[in-house]
């Protein structure tokens, strides 16, 4: 039994990390009043930019390459999310429509650029991925050390730590209050001297940075290359995690961990005695069916931030 946990817990965190980052970004964007269906596209940009940077600079930068690649992806995500921000906040474009366009644009742009740079539609595998590590000292703790500190990705720890930071900022700081205020009732916020447009821009930019990071973490740890099908639905799963987690950073983290757990179950499931005779299709659909049941059963009505999806026009009632 312990053996199963030893393999499932690191796997769960491994699959969940990109989703956690991206979902946190989604929470900030939606809390500020901007729906971001474009998370998928922002992840694509993150994966594309980090893989490209990694391949081009691996020789020069050595083992620091993947970490600098993550920073590059954050910047790329921010730049790309500005398109969403300008269109939805300044030009009052329909947020869902723009998000869909961002997804198409990112994929088209990414593959187009790959063909320009490498002359083919799929990159080689990166030579400097992020490797697993054992946390010194902690790994020697019996049982717990094996579960949580052996063969782990540093990015998984960062993801979980960041969730708590994101929760603290959103609910315990004036900045977080401003984000929530412009997402719930922008006019009231405006009357109180909060700059609605600026705050919403910041919300979208944070989502761009974190979704870019999420895509890059996926590329640096899981896929290790970039092609048209590298990011295939992870962004939508992140959106699901945002809603599942009721627009709360810790809730979103929990939902992302659950998705990661379900995914790891379908990978290692065949080695678990209890599950080995279950047809694979049941394991494959289990995470999605369980999510629906959870939503229908005990999570219930999920209500988005009130002004989410509505462009703010100064002076209108």
């Amino acid at each position: 039994m312990l053996d199963i946990l030893y393999s499932i817990i690191p796997q769960t965190l491994f699959f969940a990390a990109p989703l956690i980052f991206t979902a946190l970004g989604g929470v900030y964007s939606e809390r500020s009043g901007v729906i971001n269906i474009g998370l998928e596209g922002l992840m694509v940009i993150g994966a594309f930019s980090s893989v490209t940077f990694n391949i081009l600079y691996a020789d020069a930068l050595g083992t620091a390459t993947p970490w600098i690649s993550l920073l590059v992806a954050i910047v790329a995500g921010i730049l790309f999310s500005l398109i969403h921000a300008v269109a939805t906040i300044t030009f009052r474009a329909d947020q869902t429509v723009t998000g869909v366009a961002i997804n198409m644009l990112a994929l088209g742009f990414g593959v187009f650029m790959i063909k320009q740079i490498f002359g083919k539609g799929q990159t080689d595998f990166i030579s400097q991925p992020i490797y697993t590590t054992n946390v010194p000292f902690l790994v020697d703790i019996p049982v717990i050390g094996q579960m949580f500190f052996k063969n782990m990705y540093l990015t998984s720890y960062i993801a979980i730590a960041l969730s708590f930071v994101a929760w603290y900022v959103l609910f315990k700081t004036p900045f977080g209050l401003r984000i929530r205020a412009v997402g719930e009732h922008p006019m009231a916020a405006d009357t109180n001297g909060i700059k609605v447009y600026t705050t919403r821009y910041i919300g979208v930019i944070i989502s761009g940075a974190l979704a870019g990071l999420g895509g890059a973490v996926f590329a640096m740890t899981i896929s290790q290359n970039f092609s048209i099908s590298t990011i295939a639905g992870q962004g939508f799963m992140a959106i699901a995690a945002v809603i599942f987690g009721k627009w709360n950073p810790l809730g979103a983290m929990g939902a992302a961990l659950f998705f990661g757990f379900a995914q790891s179950l379908s990978v290692v499931g065949s080695s678990i005695p209890l599950l080995e005779n279950v047809p694979q299709v049941y394991l494959l659909i289990a995470p999605y069916v369980l999510t629906i049941l959870a939503l229908a059963g005990f999570i219930g009505r999920s209500v988005a931030p009130k002004a989410s999806g509505v462009p703010y026009v100064k002076g209108s009632r």
């Binding site: 030009f91 869909v100 742009f109 699901a240």
Partner: protein, 347 residues
Amino acid sequence: MFSSTKFNFIIPIISVILGLVAGAIIMLIFGYNPILGYQALWNGVFDSPFFMSETVNRITPYILTGLAIAFAFRTGLFNIGAEGQVLVGWVAAVWVGTAIDAPAFIHLPLALLAAAAAGALWAFIPGILKAKLGVHEVIVSIMMNYIALHITNYLIRSVLTDNQETTEPVKQTASLTNDFLIGLTGSRLHLGFIVALLMVLVMWVILERTKLGYELKAVGYNQHASNYAGMKVERNIVISMLISGLFAGLAGAMQGLGSFGNAFTNTAFSNLGFDGIAVALLGGNNPFGVVLSASLFGFLKVGSLNMSTAGVPNEIIEIVIALIILFVASGFIIRWALLQLKKGEKK
């Protein structure tokens, strides 16, 4: 001054032009000749009857997924699950098309009906959960997409075939293909476009000529007011999703009974459903607008495959399509710019 209905036509047209111009600029930046590029795009569709028919075959499912999403949008619902509804419709149609023996006038309608029913069933689940429990339809639809992907793969491997990745072709009695059209064009041009155009009329009639359509639109505008006026909001949400799923399921039938004539396992989505979102939006969620935007999409997608003859990666068209949608969405700024131009002329 422009009237508001004029804007509904002008903004998409300006957006298409701006998108193509932006695509040309990108081609120039990367050292391609945009004229040769767009010429190849045009020739990729209009050079031969074969590719023109391929384009029609591509437009047909776009119309149906576009209708599916537009219909749900009109009731205030976002059916992001068309992708999964297409898949189940596809497999249901092929299942009936391969497993049953019947004369064509029964077999074909039965296969179409099975596809529509499967799509509707797949949309019913998010619909009923939204109506009864208030669960967000977007998240349930996304989950239903993945469930559809895995279940259809399982059905193809374990039920429809014996561990094969591709099913048998559907029987001729259930096929949408037609010997006359095949002989004429040498392609798999099929009669699905008639089904698609029929559905365009169905959507228009439901929305504009029935009490049901009036109620559906009212719920889309304002749920609380509709409820107060005595409309059954919950029931209308479910009906809207059912009709939306029916359209998407039929899009799957177009592929299964027409363009491909079989079903096969997939590792990723076909993107017909996701592209349908863009088709619906560009078409202003209007059934006739959907026909126009689906035609543009089909033209660009099929034509782009020929752009490699001019050395241009066909992803450029993905970028152009995305920019067009971005411009349509930002219609406010185009409208503002047009009004500024008008003012400038008067001075």
